[in-house]
Subunit: 159 residues, 2 copies
């Protein structure tokens, strides 16, 4: 599988943040993630699984960045660490992965989405356990950066 | 769906830790998770997804507990925060969810496994975004407690 599988996730991220929070995040150059890195304070993770293709998608925000995004989504200032933030991040994740899934389906990859899980805690790191390429895309926003990362593997190909 | 879906995860956890680390973890009473709670320092999350059923499974360890488990698995003392620990936790997660998946399949639930993601960071909390019941099972071990949690939803059922 080519690393181009990341493009549907980039497109969906831009669309969802534009629609939900009227924001225009700028994707920077995708890169391979080959070491564990600390990415953020609030991370959402969702599994993707089909009969032949498996994957994981995560989006990771600093506290300041997600507070701004969710405040714009809800039209009201939210506070750090609130449940509103976790629920909104879950919704954002479902929408991004749903959009990416639809685009991947057109390319012939059949995947179902699992249930998103939100991790909260200052400066945690995340690592996907796979030998397939993990692609990280930093996004720039007016409220600071956030990171999208995804990996997909196809069974039957070399791992 | 009855909350009995948790039993295959409990059984698989006991089997995997017995086989891999010669440990006999004792499951305590399963409980509903209805607030976000801080569970651990190292958490592994894996999505499960089929056409009708979706879910998420997580296992969360204190640093002391996972250091002991992985040291026993590898027959060698491992150090806190090492990559060996993350890889071993990924392997444990794949084995537990694989075992649970096989048992759930016998009960008529068809699920594929996504790729596990490991989160590391002192005292992080996790929250699954679903209105379906999330079941948490604390386990007691000689090296301290760990927690297994899972949720499954069936499409077509309420919420």
């Amino acid at each position: 599988m080519s690393v181009e599988f990341i493009n549907p996730f980039i497109n969906a991220t831009i669309n969802v943040l534009k629609t939900m929070a009227d924001m225009d995040p700028t994707p920077l150059k995708p890169r391979l993630k080959n070491i564990t890195q600390s990415f953020g304070d609030v991370t959402s993770i969702i599994g993707l699984a089909g009969r032949r293709t498996k994957g994981s998608f995560a989006v990771s925000f600093s506290e300041a960045c997600i507070v701004r995004i969710v405040s714009r989504m809800l039209g009201d200032e939210v506070t750090e660490g609130s449940e509103e933030i976790q629920d909104a991040v879950g919704e954002i994740t479902n929408m991004i992965s749903g959009g990416a899934r639809a685009e991947l389906e057109k390319k012939g990859y059949s995947l179902e989405m699992a249930i998103p899980t939100i991790v909260s805690g200052r400066g945690h790191s995340i690592k996907h356990i796979t030998n397939f390429p993990i692609i990280v895309v930093p996004f720039r926003t007016e409220a600071g950066p956030f990171f999208v990362e995804a990996c997909l593997k196809e069974e039957g190909s070399l791992s």
